[in-house]
Symmetry: C2
Subunit: 309 residues, 2 copies
C-alpha cells in the first residue's frame, strides 16, 4: 500500500527562544512525508519554485519520497516566516510569500491515480478538490485546512468536507468552523458536515477523536470518542509542522494496517502523537528526517507507561 | 482508614450560561468531601458563620461527613460570587466576602490528630501550617493553594511545601509559582521545592503528574510522569469545585488502598478525573452529593475505552 499527500513544500524561516533558522525545508507535505515514510511509500504532490535548492530535492529523494508529482513552477518557492514566544504553543506569522503556490494545479501520474489512501494537507480547498477528482477510487481520504480557508473559502471547504473520511483540525479551527467552544460539541458539529472521523489536535494537550464509523447506525454525532494526551516533554525547540507530522504518522500507520477499526485508529493516533513529539525537539525536519521505526516504538513504549492506568 | 480535610465551607453564587444559583453550599472542603466520602471516612475542618443554613449542616451530616471540627464563628459565612462565560474554563470572581474565614484557627479532636492522611485545601498557608503542626504522625499530606497566596504569602507557602508529600496545583498556579511556561518544566521546578509528588490540573485537558518517589535515587526532577486526559464531555454546567472534587477522589482512593505505588497513583488520578467529570455536570454539589461508587465505576469503564490504546 502507498499514500499520496497533497500540500506545500516551503522554505521556512523560524524564530524561537532557541534561535533562528532561515529558509529551512518545510511545508505541510514535507512534514507529513517525514512521518508517513516510516510506515508506507509516500507520493508527494506539490509545487516548488525556480529558487528551490537542489540539495533539498536530493534530500527528499534519499528519504524515499516519490517526487514524480513535485512540479517546478515559474517563480519563487512558497515561503513562510514565523515566530514562537513563551510556551511556544502559538505561531506568530511574520510573513508569507505564496510565490508559485498561487498558480498551483496538481498533476499526477496514471499510477498515482490508483492509490487508495490520500491526505489533502493544508492548501486552497479548490486545489484539494481538483486532486480528489483525479483519484480513481480512494478508500481513505484525510483533510486538513486552516483558519484562512475557513474564513475566506468556507463554501469550498464545506463542499469538500462532504467528500472526505477524516477531517483533521486544530482546536482553534474546530471552534472557528463550528462556533462551539466545547471541543466535543465542536467535533459533533464537524461530524455532521460529512467526515465520518473527526480528529481535533490540541497541541501540548493531545488529540480528541470522534467517529460513528464503527458503531451501528444511530443518532448523528454519537459513537466512539478517544482522547489521548500529548507525549509529555520539556524539550520544545520548534513546533512548526507538528500537526502535519501527527497526520503523517496517523495516516501512514492506517495505510500499513490490514483493517481500519477502533483499535487500529487508537494506535494510529498514538503513532502520530509520538512522531509529533520528535518533530518539536529540533528545527524543521532535523529530527524527523532521521527517525526510525525503532525510535518510534521505543518512545511509544515509554508513552504507554505515562498514560495507561 | 480515614482522611482529614482542611478548607473552606462557603456560600457560592455562580452565574454560567445555564443559569444563576445563589448561596449554594460550596467551598473547597465541601467539594473535596463529596468525592472522598465515596472511598473513606471524611473529617471536615472548616469554619462557618452565624448565617450558615442549618439545612446545609444536616445535609453534610447525612452524607456521612464527620463535622466534629466544623466551627461556627462570630460573623458571616465565607461567600464567593463568580461567573463563567464562553468555554467555562475560567472563573471570573465578581465578589469575595471572607467573613469568619479571616479569624479562622482550626481546632481538632485528639482522635483526629491521629489520622494519617490529610488534605490541606486552599486556605491561608499559615492556617494550613497550623493544622499540620497539630497532626501526630501524618503519612500522606496533600496541599492545594491559589494564585492569591503565591503572590501575597509566597514565603509561607514555600515553607509549608517543604513539609507535604503532594502538591496539587492548576496550570496557571504551576506556571506562576515556577516561572516556567512548559508544564513539565514547571512540575520539575515544583518538585525541587519539596513535595515528592506534583499534580498539575489542566481543567478540560486533564492532569499531569510527576514524581520520583517510586524510582531509585537519581537526578532531582526525574522519575515517572503520568499524563491523563479529562473525561470527554459536552455537558459542562458549572465547573466550580472541579479541582477540589478531583483532589477528593484522588486522595480518597489513596486512603482506601493498601499500597501507594505507581499503579495505585494512576488509578487515583483516574478516579479523581471521573469524580470531577460528574461535578461539572450540575451546579454546586448537586451531582456529586448523590454519586455512588457504582456511578464512578461505570464511568471509569467508559473512560478506559476512551483513553486506552
Amino acid at each position: 500500500m502507498s499514500i499520496i499527500v497533497l500540500g506545500t513544500v516551503a522554505l521556512d524561516t523560524v524564530k524561537t527562544p532557541f534561535g533562528i533558522r532561515k529558509h529551512m525545508l518545510g511545508g505541510s507535505a514535507v512534514h507529513f512525508a517525514m512521518a508517513a515514510r516510516l510506515f508506507t511509500d509516500v507520493n508527494l504532490v506539490a509545487i516548488i519554485g525556480e529558487d528551490f535548492p537542489l540539495r533539498y530535492i536530493e534530500f527528499l529523494h534519499k528519504k524515499g519520497i516519490n517526487l514524480t508529482s513535485l512540479i517546478k513552477g515559474k517563480g519563487k518557492t512558497f515561503k513562510w516566516e514565523g515566530e514562537y514566544k513563551g510556551d511556544l504553543n502559538t505561531a506568530l506569522t511574520l510573513n508569507t510569500e505564496l510565490g508559485v503556490l498561487s498558480t498551483f494545479r496538481p498533476v499526477i501520474s496514471q499510477e498515482q491515480k490508483k492509490i487508495k489512501h490520500i491526505f489533502l494537507a493544508n492548501v486552497d480547498p479548490d486545489i484539494q478538490k481538483h486532486l480528489l477528482k483525479c483519484m480513481h477510487a480512494p478508500t481513505l481520504v484525510g483533510l486538513d485546512s486552516m483558519n484562512y480557508w475557513i474564513n475566506h473559502k468556507r463554501k469550498a471547504l464545506l463542499h469538500i468536507l462532504k467528500k472526505v473520511n477524516i477531517y483533521v483540525a486544530n482546536d482553534q479551527e474546530a471552534r472557528s468552523l463550528s462556533g462551539e467552544s466545547n471541543l466535543l460539541k465542536a467535533a459533533q458539529y464537524l461530524r455532521a458536515l460529512g467526515p465520518q472521523m473527526i480528529l481535533i489536535k490540541k497541541g501540548e494537550h493531545g488529540v480528541l477523536f470522534l467517529s460513528d464509523k464503527f458503531t451501528p447506525p444511530r443518532a448523528r454525532g454519537a459513537g466512539p470518542i478517544f482522547s489521548i494526551p500529548a507525549y509529555p516533554t520539556a524539550k520544545v525547540i520548534d513546533p512548526t509542522g507538528a500537526g502535519d507530522t501527527f497526520a503523517g504518522g496517523f495516516m501512514g500507520y492506517l495505510t500499513r494496517v490490514k483493517r481500519i477499526n477502533e483499535s487500529s485508529i487508537k494506535k494510529a493516533i498514538a503513532y502520530g502523537t509520538i512522531a509529533a513529539s520528535f518533530n518539536i525537539e529540533d528545527f524543521g525536519v532535523n529530527k524527523t528526517a532521521y527517525l526510525t521505526r525503532k525510535d518510534l516504538e521505543q518512545r511509544l513504549a515509554k508513552f504507554r507507561k505515562c498514560v495507561l492506568f
